[in-house]
Amino acid sequence: MAKSVIVYSTPSCPWCIRLKQFLKENNVLFSDRDVAADKPAADEMVKKSGQMGVPVLDIEGEIIVGFDKDKIKQLLGL
């Protein structure tokens, strides 16, 4: 079964755009939470990651801050 993947991002952040592009290219389905428009999502992101930088990726509870391609590949088995 596909892993549950959540991306916390802002529309204007270049690394967020690249991260989402990368996931799409690899046919990874993800839930996209825009923390600029969605305050509860922003609070959730800060709580989960303990910090305020975007993007944040939640793969089945494993939190990755930033576009760490190698770690994402490893966690998703790409």
Binding site: T10, S12, C13, P14, W15, R18, A42, M52, G53, D70
Partner: protein, 303 residues
């Protein structure tokens, strides 16, 4: 080991334009870069790139990338060049992931944010302190924040934040803000901006997140309660790896009119160089010049 005709370091406007030209000259080349778009990707609104009356930084970056994808270009992303060594006719490019060899190199590695160097900066990075207003700005909705700096990028950050934050302090070390008059007028008109000229930041404090900054002027030191700190005090060139390449006092790589450095076969383009103006369109133009110079150099030396 394979010897490339050309290795391009960096994929901002200079590196990407150089790549397009190199591809059209059918050179056997490689692009090595930490990111795509460079500072363009972090820019807000762009209104002076010919052909686009208005485009955002991320959008223009996407256009650059589309252009790059049109050609079959070997791109090593998320890879950092650590060293550049020329011996005889071959230039070795050593990165954090591998070693490559080439006849020519174009250094288009751009610039990065200068750090404040005050207590609390490292601890609070991503905990209220950020170098990217465009990225992280939206997380500071209804909060009081400080922008550190007094130039165009500081004003740009402050303007982006006027729509998001509750109040913005601009902490500027000089007598007055310097830069575009249009932006300065917009700042003056904004209801939620306080400009503190002649003030220097001394420290950033807080618990898990930023709670305050310490600032001082000639009358003494005081504390300002803020939850966000946006650092916009300029840039430094990414030129450290190019050890034997001649630089000016600002650590920018010295180039001649053909983008040649002091080392034959090593060219440079864009913001990492001593070119007088740092603009996206200038970096792009310089990238094309450097690629054509590298092509001419290869032909002349019959490589």
């Amino acid at each position: 080991m394979q010897i490339y005709d050309l290795i391009i370091i960096g994929a901002g406007p200079a590196g990407i334009t150089a790549s397009v030209y190199a591809a059209r000259k059918k050179l056997n080349f490689l692009v090595i870069s930490l990111d795509i778009g460079g500072q363009t990707a972090w820019s807000g609104d762009i209104e002076n790139y010919t052909g686009y009356q208005f485009i955002t930084g991320p959008e223009l970056t996407e256009k650059f990338q589309e252009h790059l994808r049109k050609y079959d270009i070997a791109l090593k992303e998320n890879e950092e060049v650590l060293e550049l060594v020329k011996s005889a006719e071959v230039i070795s490019v050593n990165t954090n992931k591998g070693n490559y060899q080439s006849r020519t190199v174009i250094i288009a590695s751009g610039k990065k944010s200068r750090e404040l160097g005050v207590p609390g900066e490292k601890e609070f990075k991503n905990h209220g302190l950020t170098y990217c207003a465009t990225c992280d700005g939206p997380l500071f909705s209804a909060k009081t924040v400080a922008v550190i700096g007094g130039g165009n990028s500081a004003m740009d950050a402050a303007l982006q934040l006027t729509k998001i934050a509750k109040h913005i302090y601009i902490i500027n070390i000089t007598e007055k803000l310097a830069g575009d008059q249009i932006m300065f007028e917009k700042i003056k008109q904004a209801q939620n901006v306080t400009i503190l000229n002649n003030h220097q930041i001394m420290a950033i404090t807080g618990d898990k997140f930023v709670r305050a900054i310490k600032i001082k002027n000639k009358d003494g030191q005081k504390e300002l309660a803020v939850e966000g700190v946006f650092v916009e005090i300029g840039l430094i060139p990414n030129s450290v790896f190019a050890k034997n390449v001649e630089k000016n006092t600002k650590n920018e790589i010295n180039i001649d009119l053909t983008n040649q450095t002091n080392i034959p076969g090593v060219f440079a383009a864009g913001d990492v160089t001593n070119v007088l103006e740092k603009q996206i369109i200038i970096a792009a133009g310089e990238g094309s010049k450097a690629a054509l110079s590298a092509y001419r150099y290869l032909a002349k030396n019959k490589f």
